[in-house]
């Protein structure tokens, strides 16, 4: 974290709103990307970023610097994104899925394994991105949030579990289910 960012955090903690504005400008887009990956809805993502930044402003006194500021913000944003899904009636039914620690699914990678370069090696990035995007929309919010934080943000499982109020076992299962559901994106390309 550069000196200017550290100064902005210090000033914002003292109530300097212009300093907080600088932090908003620094992080808003990356927060939007995270929130979009969880909500799969641009409007909800923007609302989630709005709420996340407001919550961050109110909780600045609790930021103790042990984690990177961006990491701290992302945890707040992930919860804000899930909260937007709870509030939104269209998505509310997705949140009733019970989280389980137990793995009830069989292995699936062998069914897809092929030593020859797959067609996805020839497909354009945007084609593959579209396929993956469709399948990401079929994950539950908890699965998407856990998977996105692990794969896209590089967060450790224990941190993700703490941020999303689940056990580490539930976090693992959410990620396993996410990967399993995403395999359909490769299957449609074969």
């Amino acid at each position: 974290m550069g000196d200017s960012a550290a100064q902005s955090i210090a000033l914002a903690r003292e109530g300097d709103q212009q300093a907080f504005r600088r932090l908003v400008d620094d992080h808003a887009r990356s927060l939007f990307q995270l929130c979009f990956r969880i909500t799969r809805d641009a409007a909800l993502a923007e609302d989630a970023v709005q709420e996340a930044l407001y919550n961050a402003w109110r909780a600045l006194g609790e930021f103790d610097g042990r984690a990177a500021f961006s990491t701290w913000l992302y945890r707040i944003a992930a919860n804000a994104a899930l909260e937007q899904l709870r509030r939104n009636a269209r998505h509310r039914y997705e949140l009733t899925e019970a989280l389980s620690d137990e793995d009830a699914e069989a292995d699936f990678l062998a069914g897809l394994a092929d030593d020859a370069p797959g067609p996805e090696a020839q497909a354009s990035g945007s084609q593959i991105g579209d396929r993956i995007g469709q399948h990401m929309g079929r994950l539950s919010p908890a699965e998407r949030a856990a998977f996105v934080m692990r794969h896209c943000e590089g967060e450790r499982l224990e941190s993700i579990a703490a941020a999303l109020s689940m056990s580490t076992g539930q976090c693992k299962q959410a990620i396993f289910r996410a990967v399993r559901k995403l395999r359909g994106a490769l299957e449609t390309l074969r």
Partner: protein, 268 residues
């Protein structure tokens, strides 16, 4: 050796959630079991595809719009409703000494990234060679990210070209490229991985580290060019998803660069 499930491979991929001895066990099994290696390649292809699922970019007024809605709320009285649960300890007094140490240790990270930008001669943007003016100091973080994204994207384009030349070459020598060029790519790769790690981009740093052994091996192949080429290495580059991953990450960096460029005018 106990059975290795798909879930084990997922945790192995992220090096998270498994004890060290289990990670070693899986690594050894991957080296000796073609079937397991094929399953892991499939997993890597799948996860590389996720990097192609790029979120839409907000419009140029995004930050201004956020602030317009947010600013009045900052001054409003706080409602009685409890704060949402946060990752940090609720209600803990800030550990100012630890916080100050944390911030102090982060000093110079932006300088490290800019040092990368100034050192390497490839220049596709007008990177400032003078220290940023004080009023634009707040832009140094995103600017450093943009610089890093530009240079790493260029580096990955060169790497892609090198890998393609290896795959497409029918000559008896593995490497049609100049040794100095390949060595420079290998050196650059390590430096960019380090810069990405310092910027907190663990995903990019991890990906670049996976390229290290391939680039080093290719550079070493060139050095011992009189010895018959390593067909295994050529087959690995041909049959693995490495090219695909390089393209996917390059696409992601280009998108990040575009997003950062759009926010440049929104900074106040």
């Amino acid at each position: 050796m106990s059975n290795i499930s798909d879930n084990d491979l997922i945790l192995f991929h992220y090096h998270d959630g498994l004890p060290s001895e289990r990670l070693r066990e899986i690594e050894q099994a991957l080296a000796t079991s073609p079937a397991l290696a094929a399953r892991y390649r499939t997993l890597r292809r799948l996860l590389a595809g996720v990097d192609c699922d790029l979120p839409p970019q907000p419009d140029t007024q995004f930050e201004n719009r956020l602030w317009t809605r947010l600013h009045p709320r900052l001054n409003a009285p706080i409602a009685a409703a409890p704060l949402p649960r946060l990752a940090s300890r609720h209600g803990a007094r800030p550990r100012r000494r630890l916080w100050a140490v944390g911030l102090a240790s982060g000093a110079g990270l932006a300088a490290a990234v800019l040092a990368v930008a100034l050192y390497f001669p490839v220049a596709h943007i007008d990177a400032p060679l003078q220290p940023a003016p004080a009023q634009r100091a707040a832009a140094q973080g995103p600017m450093a990210d943009r610089v890093l994204a530009v240079y790493v994207a260029t580096h990955l384009r060169k790497t892609e070209g090198l890998l393609l030349s290896v795959v497409n070459s029918d000559s008896t020598t593995l490497m049609p490229a100049d040794e100095a060029f390949v060595r420079a790519l290998a050196d650059d790769n390590r430096l960019y991985a380090s810069a990405a790690a310092k910027r907190g981009d663990k995903v990019l740093a991890g990906f670049l580290k996976t390229l290290d052994p391939v680039l080093i091996e290719l550079a070493n192949q060139q050095r011992v060019g009189n010895i018959p080429p390593d067909q295994g290495l050529r087959d690995f580059v041909r049959d693995s998803d490495l090219l695909f991953q390089v393209r996917a990450v390059e696409a992601r960096l280009q998108a990040r660069r575009t997003a950062s460029a759009q926010t440049g005018g929104a900074m106040t």
